[in-house]
């Protein structure tokens, strides 16, 4: 395959395949609606959804920033607390013994069920949404960072000890950079979860945002708008997770995931 062909192939792979898959999905949706003759207020056909979505595009766009802000702040909070906590747990056995059972145990609490409590505590502003998104996104950040820090070849640690390096320098120059692939894997899961947290937070108690809009549309049995919001949320999520994907490629070009992707795929 020539270089030009390969480049064309890569462009088709990046844009063409997802587009084909998406259109295929819409056709299947349309087909299901036509064949089952399902009521429109139960499952509107895709065209009606798109129509409703474009008609109310201004409303969707206006309600997007508060939602995205809550998601991003929640994600950022999870990262800012999660990574230092993971470092402390890896660096100190007593701290690990203190925090690890708490962190794992806290996963047993359905955090979505905390949403009403957070509303009682923090009101209807952005804060409870941020906190809910953070609580949900926090776990994969901590666990992946800790696993990443621990997965280093012990001979690296022997090497830096023979260099007389203090612990903080070992973390900043060796352990954290080498854990980046796992940390980014955690970020992707965390971002997906932060989106859930942000939306659920708005559904429970808010006066703005896409989650709030979803509840209002649902209350009006405006299924076309509900689905339009869901489709829009898919796009917003793709952008948010996509930003992390791009940041990953830029910051860890050496990642095995980046380099071996084409090797693990079955060649056609």
């Amino acid at each position: 395959m020539s270089a030009q062909n390969r480049r064309r192939h890569a462009v088709i792979a990046a844009w063409g395949y997802p587009t084909v898959a998406f259109i295929g999905f819409l056709l299947l949706w349309q087909l299901v609606v036509m064949v089952t003759q399902v009521k429109r207020f139960v499952l509107p056909p895709p065209l009606q959804v798109l129509e409703r979505g474009f008609a109310l595009a201004d409303l969707l766009l206006a309600q997007t920033p508060p939602t995205v802000l809550a998601i991003v702040l929640g994600f950022a909070g999870a990262v800012l607390i999660g990574i230092p906590l993971a470092v402390l747990m890896v660096a100190s056995r007593p701290l690990e013994d203190c925090f690890y059972p708490l962190i794992v145990g806290s996963q047993g609490v359905p955090k979505v069920a905390l949403a009403p409590v957070l509303v009682v505590w923090f009101g209807f502003g952005i804060l409870p949404k941020v906190i809910l998104a953070m609580l949900i996104a926090f776990f994969p950040v901590v666990i992946n960072t800790a696993v990443g820090l621990r997965s280093i070849d012990p001979n690296y640690l022997h090497l830096v000890r023979s260099m007389g390096a203090p612990a903080w320098r070992t973390y900043t120059r060796l352990l954290l950079p080498s854990a980046l692939p796992q940390i980014f894997a955690g970020f992707k899961v965390a971002m997906a979860l932060a989106i859930v947290g942000g939306i659920v937070g708005e559904m429970v108690g808010a006066n703005s945002g896409l989650g709030y809009l979803l509840v209002v549309a649902n209350g009006n049995l405006d299924m076309a708008l509900v689905f339009a919001i869901l489709v829009w949320l898919v796009f917003v999520s793709l952008v948010l997770v996509g930003i992390i994907d791009i940041a990953e490629r830029l910051s860890i070009p050496w990642s095995r995931d980046t380099r071996s992707r084409h090797l693990v795929q079955v060649q056609s």
């Binding site: 070849d153 001979n155 090497l159 000890r161 023979s162 007389g164 320098r169 080498s178 860890i252 050496w254």
Partner: protein, 288 residues
């Protein structure tokens, strides 16, 4: 490969290069560098207590290149770790220079079997990693790093990333990293064990010249008898676990004769034969 063209960029070129004596030894031992006394190491495992090392008494002079050969699991890596202070000995003591080793010893360079490079740093950045971790100014060592890389045949590769290099090149970078701070002592734990035979032979030649020129004291661990004979002033032979030093053989080839051609000489074969016969006598090697 363009390699080691100019003589000693740093350190003293005296000793190994200039010090060849009448009896063929390529340097005159001067001061004691390492003194190991009655060293022993036991590990407690699920199956009980395992003795890894027993009654190790070794003295290594400054500027000497000493190899340790022994079967897998005989504790030779453990011995190296004890000297570096990365593992605490159960009994006995290790002195390096005038200091008793307790805790990680930092006046040395270490090369492991894996190059242990950092993928996010360039070749030059990997060499300077040693300097940064010591809290020194990398700028001050940059020209020295470039010189070292040039001497091991990696001139022009400074900006490459580790994954763009072959196994032999990666190990050359690791050797530069171990020498950048000009340590008096170089510890190597099977540094060429993962390389193919041809690359390994070339690395032997290059390491021999590098050590001869810089006058470093070197402790080299290997499985390979011919590698040990080719590189060393002395070969220490170890028994299977519990590891003890069963023989201490001087190898009296002059530095300038240690070239590829020496491997096919009768004298070289004689030295190898001595070590083979020791391994046969202790049952490490058998015909049947």
């Amino acid at each position: 490969m363009a390699f080691l063209t100019q003589l000693s960029v740093h350190a003293s070129a005296e000793g190994r290069v200039g010090g060849a004596t009448e009896n063929g030894a390529r340097y005159q031992p001067r001061t004691e560098m390492i003194r190991i006394e009655n060293l022993g190491k036991t590990f407690t495992t699920a199956d009980g207590v395992v003795t890894a090392l027993e009654n190790i008494d070794v003295t290594i002079e400054e500027g000497e290149f000493v190899s340790i050969v022994g079967p897998s699991g005989c504790g030779k890596s453990t011995l190296l770790m004890c000297i570096a202070g990365l593992i605490e000995a159960s009994v006995g003591s290790v002195m390096v220079g005038s200091q008793r080793v307790s805790g990680p010893f930092t006046e040395l360079g270490i090369v492991f079997q894996e190059a242990l490079l950092l993928d996010w740093r360039s070749v030059l950045g990997n060499v300077l990693f040693q300097i940064e971790m010591r809290g020194l100014d990398p700028k001050a060592y940059e020209s020295r790093a470039r010189e070292l890389l040039d001497r091991v045949g990696l001139g022009g590769f400074e900006g490459k990333k580790p994954w763009e290099l072959s196994g032999g090149m990666r190990q050359r970078v690791a050797i530069c990293r171990a020498l950048i701070h000009d340590p008096p002592l170089l510890l190597m734990d099977e540094p060429f064990g993962a390389l193919d035979t041809l690359t390994r032979e070339q690395m032997n030649v290059d390491l021999q010249r590098l050590c001869a020129q810089t006058g470093k004291t070197a402790l080299f661990i290997t499985h390979s008898i011919s590698e040990a004979v080719f590189l060393s002033d002395r070969v220490l032979v170890m028994t299977p676990r519990p590891g003890r030093i069963i023989a201490d053989l001087p190898i009296a080839f002059a530095a300038e004769t240690r070239r590829l051609s020496i491997r096919t000489t009768v004298e070289f074969a004689e030295q190898e034969k001595k070590i083979y016969s020791i391994f046969r006598s202790i049952g490490v090697l058998r015909d049947e």
